[in-house]
Subunit: 407 residues, 2 copies
């Protein structure tokens, strides 16, 4: 099944809003065997919408997903365009208008006159309810193309697709043909070596792709032959990628680490320098993290490394703030101060300033102390300040994960 | 001047990669009076590329920007498509191939055979050098349409536009017609009240838009009449939006706060609970923040609020960890411990769990203590865990900014 996506809005063309709707539709529709062949964005211009929609209908796609241009301030240009294109009629839905009035009354707001247009609907359309907003969606069938007209607000569009379009119009059991294994702490080329044999073995029925990010390398498995068992093959690759593989699809390191902490009944605390609080932030992105995350100390200045984390002054004076020894003392210090089972630390030079010949920008030491082990790892991530901090955080979370596995 | 953007790649259609190139092009070209009228994405499919590019050329745009499909693994499908479409010829650039070999040698890698294709160029094209990668760009003139073919990697594409296309092919002085004022700490409707009179006064020569985000409301000023003075009008609106207006265009609160701290020779430290380190992270996003940021303590557990921040036990027992009193003690505590001039604190319930009838999910207290003032503000941001944390962080940075202004 082929689909086209038409997104409407000057904001999208001028670049003030980044279109995330069409990529969300891409990944969401894939398991339903609906492939987007074409994505198109036009402005709030009646003729442009009509002519581009006409082209898409001429090309006989199975589905056309339209988003945007349904707000009360946009003069409902999307509806008017499809009215003209399909030679349809706009009718006023008294019943829905009363709901709208009620909706505004509950918020003690007088309904703006402009919202009247939101109760105008194409006569031949069936309505797609909008749980999260005031603009209704519409479904139309033109020749063999199903047209879905939806609001551009991502939360409203997604709810409409998940709760109305997929169950009522697509009505198929989704088949996942794609699974992504997430890894951390290994380079693409080394990861590839570990699975070369497996990739050759399964090359007829699957397609594979390595997707390197700053946060780790993902490995995508795409089933081509529907008779093959995707999960079984995923397990084989996952096994071969251990201990670097930590999860699949949308799993995050902080989630996986959180589960390991809970399973081992461990608590954790962090002592951060160059990461400035980002490790704590990522650990607490996870709901329920107060179960295992006690807290963190960001000691940006040397004084605070001593006063808050008990790093001995002479360690800093002898080895420097960015050193293996200081990283170790910071991890021990925060572990002792907070009585956590595991202490993590980072100290490094994120740049752009602060580098020297022996300690260049990018250098970072990451310390981890568990009840059984303690270690410091040295890295050089020289990719600019923000990526340095992201990579350091990811490495720290991954080292903590591996330390618990080895415990 | 009208432009179209054609982005190429299965990854974009399937949604595994979000297209940020076209929005970057949108905002970058706007000051050059080049308006993108149409954005189009197709997959790595020769026929699709040819037929869609043909449509665009038929429509006689002034510019066509093409990105993607130039990598060595993509079989150079973009070049082949334009070769067929323009009835051109692909020629091998010996000189560039030698540069490529040298590039790989420097990295002690044998050049993969596939990279040979990257030295194939369209005969009628002039070359756009690529400082950040191995795929060259190309410029072609077809009838009156300038075609720019560029790599899909954002860093490579942006460099090519900024350093080659704008100076050599567009060759105009950019005129900014759009300026955005950033505000924080005020709702859209209240901000609107403050500038109703000004908006009416300038409604003939300017267009205005309110853009609400979780992080604050932006106000966009779009000059329609070229004879008007954009900066003067911006200043008038900025003045009317004080003290909520904190910057323009891409200014961030953490930058503006950082400058205020430097100008006042102040240092800052944070005591975080529900924000988990995010305030420290955002403050240290700014290069050079070690000038004023001393450090932060994230005390997620009550024990750490007492042991690390000296919050008296009976304050927590009497008023609770999420209370005005605890927020105040946390801000004072971190200020004393770190000897910073300014202490900020947050304590709240980000959810999804942890709420009670009297202290619901979303409740948060933000404390700020300066040499002259101390205050705690109470908010209820009930929009889900991550947005709660972002909004709390933004509010805290903004309160600190206002506290310094009042100092």
């Amino acid at each position: 099944m082929n689909a086209a996506v038409l997104t409407i809005g000057d904001e999208l063309l001028q670049g003030f809003t980044i279109d995330t709707n069409s990529s969300w539709l891409g990944t969401t529709l894939l398991p339903y065997n609906i492939r987007i062949r074409k994505k198109l964005t036009v402005g709030d211009n009646l003729n442009d919408i009509i002519s581009e929609a006409q082209n898409i209908l001429d090309d006989k796609y199975d589905y056309l997903f339209v988003t945007g241009g349904l707000g009360p301030t946009h003069d409902d240009i999307t509806k008017e365009a499809f009215r003209q294109l399909l030679n349809d009629e706009l009718i006023f839905d008294e019943n829905y208008y009363n709901q709208l009035i009620h909706h505004f009354e509950k918020r003690a707001i007088k309904i703006p006159n402009s919202n009247r247009s939101q109760a105008m609907l194409l006569k031949t359309a069936d309505v797609l309810p909008n749980k999260n907003g005031t603009a209704l969606g519409m479904h139309l069938l033109f020749k063999d193309t199903h047209i879905f007209i939806m609001p551009g607000v991502p939360g409203e569009m997604r709810e409409m697709v998940k709760n109305h379009i997929l169950p009522n119009y697509i009505n198929k059991t989704p088949t996942e043909n794609i699974i992504t294994i997430r890894t951390a702490g290994i380079m693409e080329s080394h990861l590839a070596e570990k699975v070369t044999v497996l990739m050759e073995k399964y090359s007829k029925s699957f397609r594979f792709a390595f997707l390197p990010h700053f946060s780790g390398v993902s490995f995508r498995i795409n089933r081509v032959d529907k008779n093959e068992n995707l999960l079984k093959i995923k397990d084989e690759f996952f096994q071969a990628m251990k201990p670097y593989a930590y999860g699949i699809n949308n799993d995050t390191l902080e989630e996986v680490l959180g589960l390991k902490l809970i399973n081992n009944n461990f608590t954790i605390a962090t002592a951060e320098s160059c990461t400035g609080g980002l490790i704590g932030k990522r650990l607490t992105d996870i709901a329920g993290s107060s179960e295992y995350f006690l807290g963190s100390v960001t000691a940006y200045s040397n004084q605070l490394k001593t006063s808050l984390l008990d790093v001995p002054n002479d360690i800093i004076n002898t080895h420097g703030a960015v050193s293996e020894e200081t990283a170790m003392e910071m991890a021990k210090g925060v572990r002792d101060k907070t009585r956590a089972d595991i202490g993590i630390s980072t100290t490094g030079i994120s740049g752009p300033g602060g580098g020297t010949k022996t300690k260049p920008v990018g250098l970072v030491y990451i310390g981890v102390v568990t009840p059984e082990n303690s270690m410091v790892k040295k890295y050089n991530f020289s990719y600019g300040r923000n990526i340095h901090r992201e990579m350091t955080t990811t490495a720290a979370l991954n080292i903590a994960r591996l330390a618990i596995e080895q415990n």
